[in-house]
């Protein structure tokens, strides 16, 4: 039932869009700055459904003797092909152990050593063992520990299953959101002195992804439409090991525990791609423990050579865990076994797992500084939706869960400080909210003339993105994609909505999510087209070399109504690690500083 008496707007000090790992960590951080600050967590799903729940392998933080912050920083920066801002990386590795220990104190069931200390495992691109884990359900346990801990803070108000459609911006600062309460269909403005976007990634822009159904780039599009630039959107991470058809992730931890990637001849093909020589046991920063971009690219080259296998859902290779034995698999990788048994009818104890690269993570996102602040006053962002940037051109596995904590906490503290300045809500906000309600009714709820089915438009967008903005890209294909996305955006104006009811209207939500994804797709394609070099996860076959001269810089893409988006560049911050060669599986020519 739509509430027509829009007079009362709920009001909070800090409002979070999204209630996953970053959002909940931020909410707690606000409460810890000042328990009198009222915090709203607005999420389109119950927080424990958030996609953090699907993360498997672990979270990186230096904790063991023999490891160092410098090494974690160097692994991250070289893994990111020197696109990371090094000041951000330095504070990230510095604050990571404290945040992980805090989560331990909040009850996260980290796997342990026999003496009771936290255990760590190896991970791709990391030179030392520093990945904390809770078996292979790390994200699940982190999310539930954060959610359950958040329940003790009385200052946190949850808006569960509220879908945000717009940021309210007036007098040059963000002052709240408009959201639909799904249960009732009520369209409501909620005001706040500061807003933190924590909505995660946008994997569903592509057809084959590990991402959950809810990952539609909502927060990226909300910021983009409000005039905030998106940063480094061309860098899309393919994870090398997803199950065909479902795209279910088989964690990198399965390789860290000693799994092999083999082609149709049973050959450990990574040795042909400058990733080292095969050893029976896993070697750090080598072979199967190389970085994700290089492993996914190696798969494509195997495909070109005709050395992959062919199945009903396309080409694949094998992940072999059989030599690990049942005991290791059941203690370290129980979820991998469960997923394989349940979804592929395969037992990894005795059988090979079919895998192929799958869209997994956005290195890019809403442009923020190291406090999580965006260029729009009062607006902050943290987690996958944001680009600080610590992930550069290729994120290392197990850095993203830690990133949620470090930058969720930072954004929470900064947004709390901003809210304490106590600026009043501008007079124009109510009218703006009323306009947004009218827009939703006119363009979606009351519209009966639409002819373009949501699923058709979404499917065409996804295949366009896979064809043009996949693991290898060319200028010609990206130009085609640019025209295709523009056409899809035009056709979206005639989107067909069959469901006109107010109660839990999931079709309306799907249409709004598609409009977000089209904006994100436009940004990805534009940035990929303009970056005429190859770096990390962005590989242009027409420009195969890294070009530090022109492109040691972040792309910042801004929305231009009725026109192509505009791309500008911002130099990468270099502190102690000058750009060098990315070396895996062999000694570096020169020892990195540290």
């Amino acid at each position: 039932m739509i509430d027509n008496s829009s007079s009362e707007m709920p009001s909070h000090d800090v409002l979070l869009v999204g209630g996953g790992g970053a959002g909940l960590r931020a909410a707690i951080a606000v409460s810890e700055v000042d328990p009198n600050l009222s915090v709203a967590v607005v999420s389109k799903v119950y927080p424990m459904r958030s996609h953090t729940v699907s993360a498997e392998g672990g979270a990186a933080a230096v904790i063991k003797e023999g490891d160092s912050l410098e090494e974690h920083a160097y692994d991250t920066i070289s893994g990111g092909d020197w696109m990371c801002d090094q000041d951000a990386v330095e504070l990230f590795v510095n604050e990571a152990p404290g945040e992980m220990l805090q989560l331990e104190h909040w009850g996260c069931p980290w796997s342990r050593e026999p003496d009771g200390r936290v255990a760590v495992r190896p991970f791709g691109g990391m030179k030392k063992e520093r990945t904390w884990f809770a078996a292979d359900k790390t994200g699940f346990h982190m999310l539930h520990a954060l959610f359950q801990t958040s329940l003790k803070y009385r200052s946190i108000t949850r808006y569960d299953e509220w879908f945000v459609t717009r940021l309210l911006v007036e007098d040059g600062r963000v002052q709240g959101v408009v959201a639909i309460e799904l249960m009732t269909g009520r369209i409501q403005a909620i005001t706040a002195k500061s807003v933190i976007i924590c909505t995660g990634g946008c994997g569903k822009v592509f057809p084959f992804t590990t991402n959950a159904n809810i990952k539609n780039g909502d927060g990226m599009a909300l910021a983009y439409r409000a005039g905030v630039p998106l940063k480094d959107m061309e860098f899309v991470q393919y994870h090398p090991t997803g199950l065909p058809f479902t795209g279910i992730l088989i964690t990198e931890a399965s390789r860290a525990e000693g799994g092999f990637l083999i082609n149709k001849d049973g050959y450990r093909y990574l040795q042909d791609y400058d990733l080292g020589t095969p050893q029976p046991k896993p070697v750090l920063r080598s072979m199967e423990l190389g970085p994700r971009d290089r492993l996914s690219q190696a798969f494509m080259k195997e495909l070109d050579k005709g050395r992959t296998l062919e199945g009903p859902y396309g080409p694949y290779v094998h992940l072999d865990l059989t030599h690990l034995g049942k005991k290791i698999i059941d203690t370290k990788l129980p979820f991998v076994r469960e997923l394989c048994l349940k979804y592929e009818n395969i037992d990894p104890v005795s059988q090979l797992i079919p895998v192929r690269p799958v869209v997994h993570y956005m290195m890019g996102g809403v442009h923020t500084d190291i406090q999580g602040a965006t260029p729009l006053a009062g607006l902050f962002a943290a987690g996958e939706v944001a680009c600080v940037s610590i992930n550069g051109a290729n994120r290392l596995g197990s850095n993203s869960l830690t990133e949620l904590l470090v930058f969720g906490a930072r954004a929470g503290r900064a947004a709390a400080e901003y809210a304490l300045q106590n600026k009043p809500v501008s007079a124009g906000i109510e009218a703006q909210a009323a306009d947004e309600k009218k827009r939703l009714e006119r363009e979606f709820l009351h519209k009966r003339s639409g002819t373009e089915p949501i699923a058709v438009l979404r499917g065409e967008m996804q295949s366009t993105m896979e064809k043009s903005a996949g693991i290898y890209r060319t200028g010609a294909l990206l130009e085609e994609a640019q025209a295709d996305i523009a056409e899809l955006k035009e056709r979206f104006r005639q989107v067909a909505i069959q469901d006109h009811s107010h109660t839990f209207n999931t079709e309306l939500m799907a249409a709004l999510e598609l409009s977000y994804m089209l904006d994100v797709a436009e940004a990805v394609v534009e940035c990929a087209l303009q970056r005429t070099e190859s770096r990390g996860a962005h590989q242009r076959t027409d420009f195969p070399r890294r070009d530090d001269e022109r492109f040691l810089a972040h792309s910042l893409v801004s929305h231009r109504t009725g026109d192509r988006p505009e791309v500008e560049y911002l130099p990468v911050t270099i502190t102690r690690w000058p750009p060098g060669e990315r070396v895996y599986g062999r000694p570096a020519a020169k020892t990195p500083p540290g």
Binding site: H105, R112, Q148, L151, D160, A496
Partner: protein
């Protein structure tokens, strides 16, 4: 092999109809498809108004619990091939108010979860910078299985006590209370005991064990409830025999 299969779906649109009805859809059959894939096929290609919750499609977010041929199931982990030749009937989870179609109202659980204090309670509050609380793998194993709950509500749908007495805290909330009680880092057992002892419903649980039976994550809520009852009985005897010993 069958080329299509019939899915009978419970429809309920409160703005249109007074009570739920069943609607049949023919969907393509694939051995790789789960019930959720069939529902998505219907939503994308036949009837965009069909409403249900789902997200991860890998059995960990807990969104897509529904009643499939009379049993509560995660629809992302329930294969069409299991029900050949069909039809397959899909309804909302039992024991909950229905919002619309396959969507149930679960705020009651969220309130109950919060009431059992599912967080680490400690008298001291050592700074994290001083290092982790030590916890051996054996101590972790004491509570680990209770920490695997994904809040999918399948145990509530199967629980005969919750069906009769909505005041009952219910299987998942009690399992999660026990998850913290058994955690070597926690000191809040007494506080949670005080909360749960206000819930008469717990004594109505006669160890039917339906909750444990249906749990898709192999959590044993029935075991947690029995452990609680044993502890509460001991507590009662202690307060009866040694009233001075109660903290």
């Amino acid at each position: 092999m069958a080329e299509t299969i019939t899915i009978e779906v419970a429809r309920y649109r409160p703005e249109q109809e007074g009570e739920p009805t069943l609607q049949s859809y023919e969907v393509p059959f694939s051995k790789d498809w789960v019930v959720l894939d069939a529902l998505n096929y219907i939503k994308d290609h036949v009837d965009g108004s069909l409403s249900f919750r789902w997200s991860c499609r890998m059995g960990v977010c807990g969104s897509c619990g529904m009643t499939v041929n009379g049993e509560p199931k995660l629809t992302c982990a329930t294969f069409l091939s299991h029900y050949l030749p069909g039809p397959i009937r899909v309804e909302p989870l039992q024991n909950f108010p229905v919002v619309r179609d396959l969507i149930i109202e679960m705020t009651d659980f969220l309130e109950k979860l919060q009431s059992v204090k599912p967080w680490i309670v400690r008298e001291d509050d050592p700074a994290p910078a001083k290092g982790e609380f030590l916890q051996t793998p054996e101590q972790l194993d004491n509570y680990k299985q209770f920490s695997m709950c994904i809040n999918c509500m399948i145990c509530y749908a199967a629980c005969p006590v919750y069906g009769l007495d909505p005041q009952f805290a219910g299987p998942a909330a009690i399992a999660l209370a026990q998850r913290y009680n058994l955690d070597s880092r926690d000191q809040g057992e007494q506080e949670r005991m005080d909360v749960l002892s206000q819930h008469e419903g717990i004594w109505g649980c006669t160890f039917v064990g339906e909750c444990t039976e249906v749990c898709p994550k192999n959590v044993d809520p029935a075991g947690a409830i029995q452990q609680y009852k044993l502890a509460a009985t001991k507590e009662w005897f202690k307060s009866f025999l040694m009233p001075w010993s109660k903290p």
